[in-house]
Amino acid sequence: MAVAVAPFIGQTPLQFGRVFSMSLPFSDNIDAQIFFLARLPRSLAAAVVGGTLAAAGVVFQGLLRNPLATPYTLGISAGASFGAMAAITFGSMLPVVGVTSASLAGALLAVMVVYALASARHSGLSTTVLLLAGVTMNSFFSALILFVQYLSDFTETFRALRWLMGDLDVAGYGPILGALPLVVVALGGFAWLARPLNLLSLGADAAATRGVDVRRAQRVAFFSGSLATGAAVSIGGPIGFVGIIVPHLVRLVVGADHRLVLPASFFVGAAFLVVCDVVSRIIMAPLELPVGIITALIGGPFFLWMLIRKRT
Protein backbone atom coordinates (compact mmCIF):
# COMPACT_ATOMS: atom_id res chain seq x y z
CA MET A 1 0.00 0.00 0.00
CA ALA A 2 2.67 2.44 1.09
CA VAL A 3 4.80 1.55 -1.87
CA ALA A 4 1.89 2.14 -4.21
CA VAL A 5 1.21 5.57 -2.72
CA ALA A 6 4.80 6.77 -2.30
CA PRO A 7 5.60 7.63 -5.93
CA PHE A 8 2.37 9.58 -6.09
CA ILE A 9 3.59 11.74 -3.20
CA GLY A 10 6.88 12.39 -4.92
CA GLN A 11 5.19 13.54 -8.07
CA THR A 12 2.50 15.78 -6.69
CA PRO A 13 4.49 18.99 -6.29
CA LEU A 14 5.99 18.61 -9.77
CA GLN A 15 2.71 17.82 -11.39
CA PHE A 16 0.84 20.67 -9.78
CA GLY A 17 3.76 22.98 -10.39
CA ARG A 18 3.19 22.52 -14.09
CA VAL A 19 -0.57 22.93 -13.83
CA PHE A 20 -0.26 26.10 -11.84
CA SER A 21 2.30 27.83 -14.04
CA MET A 22 0.02 27.36 -17.04
CA SER A 23 -2.63 29.56 -15.50
CA LEU A 24 -0.10 32.21 -14.44
CA PRO A 25 2.78 32.79 -16.85
CA PHE A 26 5.96 33.87 -15.05
CA SER A 27 9.36 34.77 -16.39
CA ASP A 28 11.95 32.00 -16.08
CA ASN A 29 13.77 33.35 -13.07
CA ILE A 30 10.69 34.05 -11.01
CA ASP A 31 9.34 30.66 -11.98
CA ALA A 32 12.31 28.97 -10.36
CA GLN A 33 11.98 31.15 -7.25
CA ILE A 34 8.32 30.36 -6.96
CA PHE A 35 9.01 26.68 -7.35
CA PHE A 36 11.89 26.40 -4.87
CA LEU A 37 11.00 29.11 -2.35
CA ALA A 38 7.24 29.01 -2.33
CA ARG A 39 5.76 25.85 -3.76
CA LEU A 40 8.20 23.08 -2.94
CA PRO A 41 8.57 23.90 0.78
CA ARG A 42 4.84 24.27 0.91
CA SER A 43 4.11 20.88 -0.56
CA LEU A 44 6.74 19.33 1.67
CA ALA A 45 5.12 20.99 4.66
CA ALA A 46 1.72 19.67 3.58
CA ALA A 47 3.12 16.16 3.21
CA VAL A 48 4.95 16.20 6.56
CA VAL A 49 2.01 17.74 8.43
CA GLY A 50 -0.65 15.55 6.78
CA GLY A 51 1.30 12.35 7.24
CA THR A 52 2.28 13.10 10.81
CA LEU A 53 -1.23 14.11 11.86
CA ALA A 54 -2.82 11.05 10.26
CA ALA A 55 -0.33 8.67 11.90
CA ALA A 56 -0.70 10.46 15.22
CA GLY A 57 -4.47 10.03 14.86
CA VAL A 58 -3.99 6.27 14.54
CA VAL A 59 -1.79 6.23 17.64
CA PHE A 60 -4.24 8.23 19.74
CA GLN A 61 -7.19 6.13 18.59
CA GLY A 62 -5.22 3.05 19.61
CA LEU A 63 -4.01 4.48 22.89
CA LEU A 64 -7.42 5.77 23.97
CA ARG A 65 -9.23 2.84 22.35
CA ASN A 66 -11.70 5.36 21.01
CA PRO A 67 -12.46 5.69 17.30
CA LEU A 68 -13.32 9.39 17.72
CA ALA A 69 -9.94 10.33 19.18
CA THR A 70 -7.90 12.80 17.12
CA PRO A 71 -4.39 14.21 17.55
CA TYR A 72 -6.14 17.22 19.10
CA THR A 73 -8.21 15.33 21.68
CA LEU A 74 -5.62 15.66 24.41
CA GLY A 75 -5.29 19.44 24.25
CA ILE A 76 -1.90 19.48 22.54
CA SER A 77 -3.08 21.54 19.58
CA ALA A 78 -4.85 23.98 21.90
CA GLY A 79 -1.58 24.41 23.82
CA ALA A 80 0.30 24.89 20.55
CA SER A 81 -2.30 27.38 19.34
CA PHE A 82 -2.06 29.32 22.56
CA GLY A 83 1.72 29.53 22.15
CA ALA A 84 1.32 30.77 18.59
CA MET A 85 -1.37 33.30 19.54
CA ALA A 86 0.81 34.67 22.32
CA ALA A 87 3.75 35.00 19.92
CA ILE A 88 1.61 36.77 17.32
CA THR A 89 0.11 39.19 19.84
CA PHE A 90 3.02 39.88 22.15
CA GLY A 91 5.80 39.10 19.66
CA SER A 92 6.83 42.73 19.31
CA MET A 93 7.35 43.07 23.07
CA LEU A 94 9.38 39.90 23.55
CA PRO A 95 12.84 39.04 22.32
CA VAL A 96 13.00 36.95 19.16
CA VAL A 97 10.43 34.20 19.67
CA GLY A 98 9.11 32.81 16.43
CA VAL A 99 5.52 31.66 16.12
CA THR A 100 6.79 28.15 15.33
CA SER A 101 8.90 27.77 18.45
CA ALA A 102 6.25 29.40 20.62
CA SER A 103 3.64 26.92 19.44
CA LEU A 104 6.04 24.06 20.15
CA ALA A 105 6.54 25.41 23.65
CA GLY A 106 2.77 25.65 24.13
CA ALA A 107 2.32 22.06 22.96
CA LEU A 108 5.02 20.91 25.35
CA LEU A 109 3.32 22.68 28.23
CA ALA A 110 0.00 20.99 27.46
CA VAL A 111 1.67 17.58 27.16
CA MET A 112 3.38 17.95 30.54
CA VAL A 113 0.20 18.97 32.31
CA VAL A 114 -1.92 16.20 30.77
CA TYR A 115 0.75 13.57 31.47
CA ALA A 116 1.22 14.72 35.05
CA LEU A 117 -2.53 14.53 35.61
CA ALA A 118 -2.99 11.15 33.98
CA SER A 119 -0.10 9.48 35.78
CA ALA A 120 -0.58 11.16 39.16
CA ARG A 121 -2.74 8.55 40.86
CA HIS A 122 -2.25 5.48 38.72
CA SER A 123 0.66 3.20 38.15
CA GLY A 124 0.05 3.33 34.39
CA LEU A 125 -1.71 5.95 32.31
CA SER A 126 -5.40 6.06 32.94
CA THR A 127 -7.09 6.56 29.58
CA THR A 128 -10.17 7.99 31.26
CA VAL A 129 -8.13 10.59 33.10
CA LEU A 130 -6.15 11.24 29.91
CA LEU A 131 -9.36 11.96 28.03
CA LEU A 132 -10.84 14.13 30.75
CA ALA A 133 -7.61 16.01 31.29
CA GLY A 134 -7.29 16.50 27.54
CA VAL A 135 -10.80 17.84 27.15
CA THR A 136 -10.26 20.17 30.09
CA MET A 137 -6.94 21.40 28.72
CA ASN A 138 -8.67 22.04 25.40
CA SER A 139 -11.23 24.35 26.98
CA PHE A 140 -8.69 25.92 29.31
CA PHE A 141 -6.33 26.81 26.47
CA SER A 142 -9.26 27.94 24.34
CA ALA A 143 -10.14 30.41 27.08
CA LEU A 144 -6.52 31.62 27.17
CA ILE A 145 -6.59 31.99 23.37
CA LEU A 146 -9.75 34.07 23.57
CA PHE A 147 -8.18 36.20 26.27
CA VAL A 148 -5.06 36.84 24.19
CA GLN A 149 -7.27 37.61 21.19
CA TYR A 150 -9.19 40.11 23.29
CA LEU A 151 -5.94 41.92 24.07
CA SER A 152 -4.74 42.03 20.48
CA ASP A 153 -5.39 44.67 17.84
CA PHE A 154 -7.14 44.16 14.52
CA THR A 155 -4.26 43.09 12.29
CA GLU A 156 -3.03 40.70 14.96
CA THR A 157 -6.51 39.24 15.32
CA PHE A 158 -6.72 38.60 11.59
CA ARG A 159 -3.33 36.95 11.54
CA ALA A 160 -4.14 34.85 14.58
CA LEU A 161 -7.47 33.74 13.15
CA ARG A 162 -5.83 32.89 9.86
CA TRP A 163 -3.20 30.82 11.67
CA LEU A 164 -5.96 28.87 13.41
CA MET A 165 -7.49 27.99 10.04
CA GLY A 166 -4.25 26.31 9.00
CA ASP A 167 -1.56 27.94 6.93
CA LEU A 168 0.95 25.86 5.00
CA ASP A 169 2.61 28.80 3.24
CA VAL A 170 5.80 28.27 5.22
CA ALA A 171 7.88 30.67 3.08
CA GLY A 172 11.08 28.64 3.10
CA TYR A 173 12.38 25.45 4.63
CA GLY A 174 13.04 26.82 8.14
CA PRO A 175 9.82 25.70 9.86
CA ILE A 176 10.02 22.22 8.30
CA LEU A 177 13.68 21.70 9.23
CA GLY A 178 12.98 22.94 12.75
CA ALA A 179 10.21 20.40 13.30
CA LEU A 180 11.80 17.52 11.36
CA PRO A 181 13.91 16.05 14.20
CA LEU A 182 10.78 15.81 16.37
CA VAL A 183 8.82 14.21 13.54
CA VAL A 184 11.57 11.65 12.96
CA VAL A 185 11.73 10.73 16.65
CA ALA A 186 7.95 10.46 16.77
CA LEU A 187 7.81 8.28 13.67
CA GLY A 188 10.44 6.04 15.24
CA GLY A 189 8.13 5.68 18.22
CA PHE A 190 5.22 4.89 15.91
CA ALA A 191 7.22 2.15 14.18
CA TRP A 192 7.93 0.53 17.54
CA LEU A 193 4.27 0.88 18.53
CA ALA A 194 2.67 -1.01 15.66
CA ARG A 195 2.63 -4.42 17.38
CA PRO A 196 1.84 -3.24 20.93
CA LEU A 197 -1.06 -1.18 19.57
CA ASN A 198 -2.52 -4.28 17.91
CA LEU A 199 -2.48 -6.09 21.22
CA LEU A 200 -3.63 -3.05 23.22
CA SER A 201 -6.74 -2.95 21.07
CA LEU A 202 -7.77 -6.16 22.85
CA GLY A 203 -7.63 -4.32 26.17
CA ALA A 204 -4.80 -3.55 28.56
CA ASP A 205 -5.10 -6.82 30.53
CA ALA A 206 -5.25 -9.02 27.47
CA ALA A 207 -2.24 -7.22 26.05
CA ALA A 208 -0.30 -7.69 29.29
CA THR A 209 -0.91 -11.43 29.29
CA ARG A 210 0.56 -11.56 25.80
CA GLY A 211 3.81 -10.00 26.93
CA VAL A 212 3.18 -6.30 26.21
CA ASP A 213 4.66 -3.87 28.70
CA VAL A 214 1.43 -1.90 28.80
CA ARG A 215 2.77 1.02 30.80
CA ARG A 216 5.72 1.48 28.50
CA ALA A 217 3.61 1.15 25.37
CA GLN A 218 1.13 3.73 26.63
CA ARG A 219 3.91 6.10 27.53
CA VAL A 220 5.60 5.75 24.14
CA ALA A 221 2.23 6.20 22.40
CA PHE A 222 1.40 9.28 24.42
CA PHE A 223 4.76 11.00 24.02
CA SER A 224 5.41 10.11 20.39
CA GLY A 225 1.84 11.04 19.43
CA SER A 226 2.10 14.33 21.28
CA LEU A 227 5.49 15.11 19.82
CA ALA A 228 4.19 14.43 16.32
CA THR A 229 1.12 16.58 16.88
CA GLY A 230 3.08 19.46 18.38
CA ALA A 231 5.56 19.40 15.50
CA ALA A 232 2.83 19.26 12.87
CA VAL A 233 0.81 22.08 14.41
CA SER A 234 3.92 24.24 14.76
CA ILE A 235 4.43 24.01 10.99
CA GLY A 236 0.92 24.47 9.65
CA GLY A 237 -1.42 25.43 12.45
CA PRO A 238 -4.19 23.20 13.82
CA ILE A 239 -5.44 21.72 10.54
CA GLY A 240 -8.48 19.62 11.34
CA PHE A 241 -9.92 16.33 10.13
CA VAL A 242 -6.74 14.83 8.65
CA GLY A 243 -6.04 13.07 11.94
CA ILE A 244 -9.48 11.48 12.10
CA ILE A 245 -10.71 10.73 8.61
CA VAL A 246 -7.49 9.39 7.14
CA PRO A 247 -7.02 6.60 9.74
CA HIS A 248 -10.63 5.47 9.32
CA LEU A 249 -10.40 5.57 5.56
CA VAL A 250 -7.21 3.54 5.67
CA ARG A 251 -8.75 0.97 8.03
CA LEU A 252 -11.62 0.51 5.60
CA VAL A 253 -9.09 -0.49 2.97
CA VAL A 254 -6.30 -2.36 4.80
CA GLY A 255 -8.06 -3.63 7.92
CA ALA A 256 -7.14 -3.06 11.55
CA ASP A 257 -3.51 -4.24 11.64
CA HIS A 258 -1.47 -1.30 12.90
CA ARG A 259 1.60 -2.53 11.07
CA LEU A 260 -0.27 -1.59 7.87
CA VAL A 261 -2.54 1.14 9.19
CA LEU A 262 0.26 3.31 10.58
CA PRO A 263 2.46 3.63 7.47
CA ALA A 264 -0.53 3.70 5.12
CA SER A 265 -2.14 6.48 7.15
CA PHE A 266 1.09 8.44 7.01
CA PHE A 267 1.24 8.29 3.23
CA VAL A 268 -2.47 8.77 2.62
CA GLY A 269 -2.51 11.68 5.09
CA ALA A 270 0.44 13.26 3.31
CA ALA A 271 -1.22 12.86 -0.08
CA PHE A 272 -4.57 14.12 1.21
CA LEU A 273 -3.14 17.32 2.66
CA VAL A 274 -0.96 17.98 -0.39
CA VAL A 275 -4.09 17.75 -2.54
CA CYS A 276 -6.12 19.92 -0.15
CA ASP A 277 -3.36 22.53 -0.20
CA VAL A 278 -3.36 22.60 -3.98
CA VAL A 279 -7.15 23.03 -3.96
CA SER A 280 -6.82 25.86 -1.43
CA ARG A 281 -4.30 27.65 -3.66
CA ILE A 282 -6.15 27.46 -6.95
CA ILE A 283 -9.83 27.52 -6.07
CA MET A 284 -9.97 31.26 -5.41
CA ALA A 285 -6.69 32.45 -6.98
CA PRO A 286 -5.09 34.90 -6.42
CA LEU A 287 -6.70 34.63 -3.00
CA GLU A 288 -6.12 31.54 -0.93
CA LEU A 289 -8.74 29.64 0.95
CA PRO A 290 -7.29 28.49 4.29
CA VAL A 291 -6.45 24.80 3.99
CA GLY A 292 -8.24 23.99 7.26
CA ILE A 293 -11.51 24.99 5.61
CA ILE A 294 -10.89 22.61 2.72
CA THR A 295 -10.01 19.63 4.93
CA ALA A 296 -13.09 20.21 7.06
CA LEU A 297 -15.37 20.77 4.06
CA ILE A 298 -14.20 17.53 2.46
CA GLY A 299 -13.60 15.71 5.72
CA GLY A 300 -16.83 16.54 7.55
CA PRO A 301 -19.38 15.18 5.06
CA PHE A 302 -17.12 12.25 4.22
CA PHE A 303 -16.84 11.27 7.84
CA LEU A 304 -20.60 11.52 8.39
CA TRP A 305 -21.19 9.38 5.33
CA MET A 306 -18.80 6.81 6.74
CA LEU A 307 -20.55 6.79 10.10
CA ILE A 308 -23.92 6.15 8.49
CA ARG A 309 -22.50 3.53 6.20
CA LYS A 310 -20.96 1.69 9.13
CA ARG A 311 -24.32 1.42 10.88
CA THR A 312 -26.17 -0.11 7.96
Partner: protein
Protein backbone atom coordinates in the same frame (compact mmCIF):
# COMPACT_ATOMS: atom_id res chain seq x y z
CA UNK B 1 -19.17 56.78 3.77
CA UNK B 2 -21.22 58.46 6.38
CA UNK B 3 -24.79 59.51 6.72
CA UNK B 4 -27.17 60.70 9.37
CA UNK B 5 -29.38 58.05 10.80
CA UNK B 6 -32.76 58.71 9.34
CA UNK B 7 -33.64 61.34 6.78
CA UNK B 8 -34.01 65.02 7.37
CA UNK B 9 -37.53 65.67 6.19
CA UNK B 10 -38.68 69.07 7.36
CA UNK B 11 -42.13 69.82 8.63
CA UNK B 12 -42.60 67.31 11.42
CA UNK B 13 -41.51 69.18 14.50
CA UNK B 14 -41.53 68.55 18.17
CA UNK B 15 -42.46 65.76 20.49
CA UNK B 16 -43.01 66.83 24.05
CA UNK B 17 -42.38 63.51 25.72
CA UNK B 18 -39.18 62.80 23.81
CA UNK B 19 -38.07 66.37 24.27
CA UNK B 20 -38.52 65.82 27.95
CA UNK B 21 -36.32 62.78 27.89
CA UNK B 22 -33.51 64.51 26.09
CA UNK B 23 -33.94 67.82 27.87
CA UNK B 24 -33.50 66.16 31.21
CA UNK B 25 -30.24 64.65 29.96
CA UNK B 26 -28.62 67.57 28.25
CA UNK B 27 -27.08 70.56 29.91
CA UNK B 28 -30.02 72.89 29.50
CA UNK B 29 -30.00 72.72 25.72
CA UNK B 30 -33.44 73.11 24.27
CA UNK B 31 -33.78 70.45 21.65
CA UNK B 32 -35.86 70.77 18.56
CA UNK B 33 -36.80 67.27 17.79
CA UNK B 34 -37.71 65.76 14.52
CA UNK B 35 -39.60 62.51 14.49
CA UNK B 36 -39.39 60.41 11.36
CA UNK B 37 -40.90 57.05 12.09
CA UNK B 38 -38.93 55.72 15.01
CA UNK B 39 -35.82 57.77 14.28
CA UNK B 40 -35.18 60.84 16.33
CA UNK B 41 -32.75 63.52 15.32
CA UNK B 42 -31.78 66.42 17.51
CA UNK B 43 -31.22 69.39 15.26
CA UNK B 44 -29.38 71.63 17.70
CA UNK B 45 -25.68 71.79 18.35
CA UNK B 46 -24.90 68.73 20.47
CA UNK B 47 -23.11 69.44 23.72
CA UNK B 48 -22.30 65.92 24.87
CA UNK B 49 -20.85 63.81 22.05
CA UNK B 50 -19.70 60.23 22.48
CA UNK B 51 -17.55 58.97 19.60
CA UNK B 52 -16.72 55.28 19.27
CA UNK B 53 -14.47 55.71 16.24
CA UNK B 54 -10.90 57.06 16.61
CA UNK B 55 -10.88 58.52 13.08
CA UNK B 56 -14.07 60.50 13.77
CA UNK B 57 -12.87 61.61 17.19
CA UNK B 58 -9.80 63.03 15.51
CA UNK B 59 -12.00 64.86 13.00
CA UNK B 60 -14.17 66.31 15.79
CA UNK B 61 -11.13 67.74 17.55
CA UNK B 62 -9.76 69.06 14.27
CA UNK B 63 -12.94 71.03 13.49
CA UNK B 64 -13.14 72.54 16.97
CA UNK B 65 -15.84 70.23 18.34
CA UNK B 66 -13.36 68.76 20.86
CA UNK B 67 -14.86 70.53 23.89
CA UNK B 68 -18.22 68.92 23.10
CA UNK B 69 -16.74 65.41 23.18
CA UNK B 70 -17.36 63.67 26.51
CA UNK B 71 -16.65 60.03 25.68
CA UNK B 72 -14.34 58.20 23.26
CA UNK B 73 -13.44 54.61 22.34
CA UNK B 74 -10.81 52.61 24.16
CA UNK B 75 -8.57 52.93 21.10
CA UNK B 76 -8.45 56.73 20.97
CA UNK B 77 -4.92 58.08 21.43
CA UNK B 78 -4.87 61.20 19.28
CA UNK B 79 -5.02 64.09 19.99
CA UNK B 80 -3.91 63.88 23.60
CA UNK B 81 -7.04 65.67 24.84
CA UNK B 82 -9.13 62.92 23.23
CA UNK B 83 -7.16 60.22 25.04
CA UNK B 84 -8.06 61.90 28.33
CA UNK B 85 -11.84 61.58 27.76
CA UNK B 86 -13.91 58.83 29.36
CA UNK B 87 -13.44 55.51 27.53
CA UNK B 88 -16.62 53.70 26.59
CA UNK B 89 -15.37 50.51 24.90
CA UNK B 90 -14.63 49.72 21.29
CA UNK B 91 -16.11 48.44 18.07
CA UNK B 92 -16.94 44.97 19.35
CA UNK B 93 -17.43 45.73 23.03
CA UNK B 94 -19.13 49.11 23.38
CA UNK B 95 -20.10 49.68 26.99
CA UNK B 96 -23.75 50.70 26.78
CA UNK B 97 -23.95 51.55 30.46
CA UNK B 98 -20.87 53.78 30.31
CA UNK B 99 -22.27 55.52 27.23
CA UNK B 100 -25.63 56.21 28.93
CA UNK B 101 -23.93 57.44 32.08
CA UNK B 102 -22.35 60.21 29.99
CA UNK B 103 -25.87 61.34 28.96
CA UNK B 104 -24.91 61.91 25.32
CA UNK B 105 -26.96 64.06 22.97
CA UNK B 106 -25.07 62.62 20.00
CA UNK B 107 -23.49 59.17 19.69
CA UNK B 108 -21.14 58.47 16.80
CA UNK B 109 -21.31 54.76 16.07
CA UNK B 110 -19.99 52.39 13.45
CA UNK B 111 -22.48 51.16 10.85
CA UNK B 112 -21.97 47.53 11.85
CA UNK B 113 -22.81 48.06 15.54
CA UNK B 114 -26.41 46.91 15.02
CA UNK B 115 -27.03 45.91 18.60
CA UNK B 116 -25.73 49.19 20.02
CA UNK B 117 -27.67 51.17 17.42
CA UNK B 118 -30.87 49.34 18.40
CA UNK B 119 -30.34 50.01 22.09
CA UNK B 120 -29.49 53.68 21.56
CA UNK B 121 -32.61 54.04 19.40
CA UNK B 122 -34.75 52.63 22.20
CA UNK B 123 -33.49 55.30 24.60
CA UNK B 124 -33.72 57.98 21.88
CA UNK B 125 -30.07 58.98 21.74
CA UNK B 126 -29.45 60.69 18.38
CA UNK B 127 -26.82 58.98 16.30
CA UNK B 128 -24.35 59.68 13.54
CA UNK B 129 -23.58 56.43 11.73
CA UNK B 130 -20.18 56.05 10.14
CA UNK B 131 -18.40 53.44 8.03
CA UNK B 132 -14.84 53.49 6.74
CA UNK B 133 -14.76 54.11 3.03
CA UNK B 134 -12.24 55.43 0.56
CA UNK B 135 -10.11 58.56 0.58
CA UNK B 136 -12.90 60.73 -0.86
CA UNK B 137 -15.22 59.79 2.02
CA UNK B 138 -12.93 61.39 4.60
CA UNK B 139 -13.56 65.00 3.59
CA UNK B 140 -17.24 64.20 3.04
CA UNK B 141 -17.48 62.86 6.60
CA UNK B 142 -15.70 65.96 7.92
CA UNK B 143 -18.22 68.24 6.19
CA UNK B 144 -21.17 66.16 7.47
CA UNK B 145 -19.74 66.26 10.99
CA UNK B 146 -19.30 70.02 10.77
CA UNK B 147 -22.93 70.49 9.81
CA UNK B 148 -24.07 68.12 12.53
CA UNK B 149 -22.03 69.60 15.38
CA UNK B 150 -22.31 73.32 14.58
CA UNK B 151 -18.82 73.73 13.15
CA UNK B 152 -19.68 73.92 9.46
CA UNK B 153 -17.19 76.66 8.57
CA UNK B 154 -14.25 75.04 10.38
CA UNK B 155 -15.13 71.70 8.78
CA UNK B 156 -15.23 73.27 5.32
CA UNK B 157 -11.87 74.91 5.94
CA UNK B 158 -10.30 71.61 7.10
CA UNK B 159 -11.83 69.61 4.25
CA UNK B 160 -10.61 72.16 1.70
CA UNK B 161 -7.14 72.05 3.24
CA UNK B 162 -7.01 68.25 3.01
CA UNK B 163 -8.30 68.37 -0.56
CA UNK B 164 -5.57 70.89 -1.40
CA UNK B 165 -2.88 68.69 0.20
CA UNK B 166 -4.08 65.67 -1.76
CA UNK B 167 -4.27 67.69 -4.96
CA UNK B 168 -0.72 68.94 -4.47
CA UNK B 169 0.60 65.40 -4.07
CA UNK B 170 -1.36 64.18 -7.08
CA UNK B 171 0.09 66.98 -9.21
CA UNK B 172 3.63 66.21 -8.03
CA UNK B 173 3.12 62.51 -8.72
CA UNK B 174 1.39 62.90 -12.06
CA UNK B 175 4.50 63.45 -14.19
CA UNK B 176 6.43 60.42 -12.90
CA UNK B 177 6.09 56.75 -13.71
CA UNK B 178 4.06 54.93 -11.11
CA UNK B 179 6.25 52.39 -9.27
CA UNK B 180 4.57 49.00 -8.77
CA UNK B 181 4.06 49.08 -5.02
CA UNK B 182 2.92 46.59 -2.38
CA UNK B 183 1.35 47.96 0.81
CA UNK B 184 1.93 45.62 3.76
CA UNK B 185 0.24 46.03 7.12
CA UNK B 186 0.93 42.74 8.86
CA UNK B 187 3.49 39.94 8.75
CA UNK B 188 5.05 37.34 10.99
CA UNK B 189 8.11 38.86 12.57
CA UNK B 190 11.41 38.17 10.89
CA UNK B 191 9.86 36.01 8.16
CA UNK B 192 7.76 36.18 5.02
CA UNK B 193 4.87 34.22 6.52
CA UNK B 194 1.41 35.62 7.10
CA UNK B 195 1.77 38.70 4.89
CA UNK B 196 -1.28 40.95 5.15
CA UNK B 197 -1.51 43.47 2.37
CA UNK B 198 -3.89 46.03 0.96
CA UNK B 199 -6.07 44.92 -1.92
CA UNK B 200 -7.54 47.24 -4.53
CA UNK B 201 -10.17 48.80 -2.30
CA UNK B 202 -10.45 51.09 0.67
CA UNK B 203 -8.59 53.98 2.09
CA UNK B 204 -5.07 52.47 2.21
CA UNK B 205 -5.30 51.57 -1.49
CA UNK B 206 -6.63 55.07 -2.30
CA UNK B 207 -3.76 56.66 -0.32
CA UNK B 208 -1.20 54.62 -2.24
CA UNK B 209 -2.70 55.51 -5.61
CA UNK B 210 -2.99 59.19 -4.63
CA UNK B 211 0.68 59.15 -3.64
CA UNK B 212 1.62 57.99 -7.14
CA UNK B 213 2.11 54.29 -6.53
CA UNK B 214 0.54 51.54 -8.63
CA UNK B 215 -0.85 48.97 -6.23
CA UNK B 216 0.31 45.52 -7.38
CA UNK B 217 -2.79 44.01 -5.78
CA UNK B 218 -5.22 46.46 -7.39
CA UNK B 219 -7.10 43.69 -9.19
CA UNK B 220 -8.14 42.02 -5.93
CA UNK B 221 -11.23 43.97 -4.92
CA UNK B 222 -10.83 43.63 -1.18
CA UNK B 223 -9.50 45.96 1.49
CA UNK B 224 -7.04 43.41 2.78
CA UNK B 225 -5.88 39.91 2.04
CA UNK B 226 -3.27 37.41 3.12
CA UNK B 227 -0.65 37.15 0.42
CA UNK B 228 1.12 33.86 -0.25
CA UNK B 229 4.83 33.86 -0.96
CA UNK B 230 4.02 32.59 -4.44
CA UNK B 231 1.82 35.62 -5.14
CA UNK B 232 4.42 37.97 -3.64
CA UNK B 233 7.07 36.61 -6.00
CA UNK B 234 4.85 36.63 -9.06
CA UNK B 235 3.59 40.18 -8.46
CA UNK B 236 7.23 41.36 -8.17
CA UNK B 237 6.68 44.77 -6.51
CA UNK B 238 9.32 47.46 -7.19
CA UNK B 239 8.57 49.18 -3.89
CA UNK B 240 7.29 47.69 -0.63
CA UNK B 241 5.80 49.92 2.04
CA UNK B 242 5.13 48.43 5.45
CA UNK B 243 2.72 50.47 7.53
CA UNK B 244 2.65 49.81 11.24
CA UNK B 245 0.44 51.73 13.61
CA UNK B 246 2.26 53.12 16.65
CA UNK B 247 4.62 50.17 16.68
CA UNK B 248 7.95 51.57 17.76
CA UNK B 249 10.59 49.31 16.29
CA UNK B 250 14.10 49.25 17.67
CA UNK B 251 17.04 49.66 15.31
CA UNK B 252 17.77 45.91 15.67
CA UNK B 253 14.19 45.05 14.85
CA UNK B 254 14.27 47.22 11.74
CA UNK B 255 17.51 45.57 10.64
CA UNK B 256 15.99 42.13 11.26
CA UNK B 257 12.86 42.91 9.28
CA UNK B 258 14.93 44.37 6.43
CA UNK B 259 16.99 41.16 6.44
CA UNK B 260 13.80 39.09 6.24
CA UNK B 261 12.88 40.88 3.02
CA UNK B 262 16.33 40.04 1.61
CA UNK B 263 15.39 36.33 1.72
CA UNK B 264 12.99 36.80 -1.19
CA UNK B 265 14.01 37.92 -4.63
CA UNK B 266 11.43 40.62 -5.29
CA UNK B 267 12.80 43.75 -7.04
CA UNK B 268 11.95 45.98 -4.06
CA UNK B 269 14.16 43.90 -1.76
CA UNK B 270 16.97 43.58 -4.30
CA UNK B 271 17.04 47.35 -4.86
CA UNK B 272 16.72 48.30 -1.20
CA UNK B 273 13.28 49.84 -1.67
CA UNK B 274 11.48 48.26 1.27
CA UNK B 275 10.28 51.07 3.55
CA UNK B 276 8.96 50.82 7.08
CA UNK B 277 6.57 53.61 8.05
CA UNK B 278 5.82 53.37 11.74
CA UNK B 279 3.12 55.87 12.57
CA UNK B 280 -0.52 55.47 13.47
CA UNK B 281 -1.51 58.55 11.46
CA UNK B 282 -0.88 56.47 8.34
CA UNK B 283 -3.53 53.90 9.16
CA UNK B 284 -6.26 56.19 10.52
CA UNK B 285 -8.59 57.66 7.88
CA UNK B 286 -8.75 61.00 9.68
CA UNK B 287 -7.69 64.63 9.21
CA UNK B 288 -3.99 63.73 9.02
CA UNK B 289 -4.56 61.85 5.76
CA UNK B 290 -3.15 64.63 3.57
CA UNK B 291 0.16 64.47 5.45
CA UNK B 292 0.06 60.67 5.37
CA UNK B 293 -0.23 60.67 1.57
CA UNK B 294 2.75 63.06 1.41
CA UNK B 295 4.76 60.66 3.60
CA UNK B 296 3.91 57.74 1.33
CA UNK B 297 4.75 59.84 -1.73
CA UNK B 298 8.22 60.49 -0.31
CA UNK B 299 8.69 56.84 0.69
CA UNK B 300 7.84 55.60 -2.78
CA UNK B 301 10.36 57.91 -4.41
CA UNK B 302 13.30 57.61 -2.02
Amino acid sequence: MSHLSGSRSPGVHGSASLGGVLGSWGSGVICTILVVGATVIAQTKPARIVSLIPAVTEMLFAIGAGPQVVGVSAFDTFPTEAAARTKVGGLFDPNFEAILTLRPDLAIVYGSQDELIGRLERVHVPMFTYRHGGLADITRTIRDLGARTGHASEATRLADEIDAQLRAVRIRASGDTRPRTLLVFGREEGSMRGLYVSGGMGFLHDMLEAAGGANVMADVKREGLQLSLEQLLSRAPEVVIELRASDAWSRERQAREAAAWKTVGVPAARNGRVRFLLDDSLTIPGPRVGLAVQTIFTAIRQ
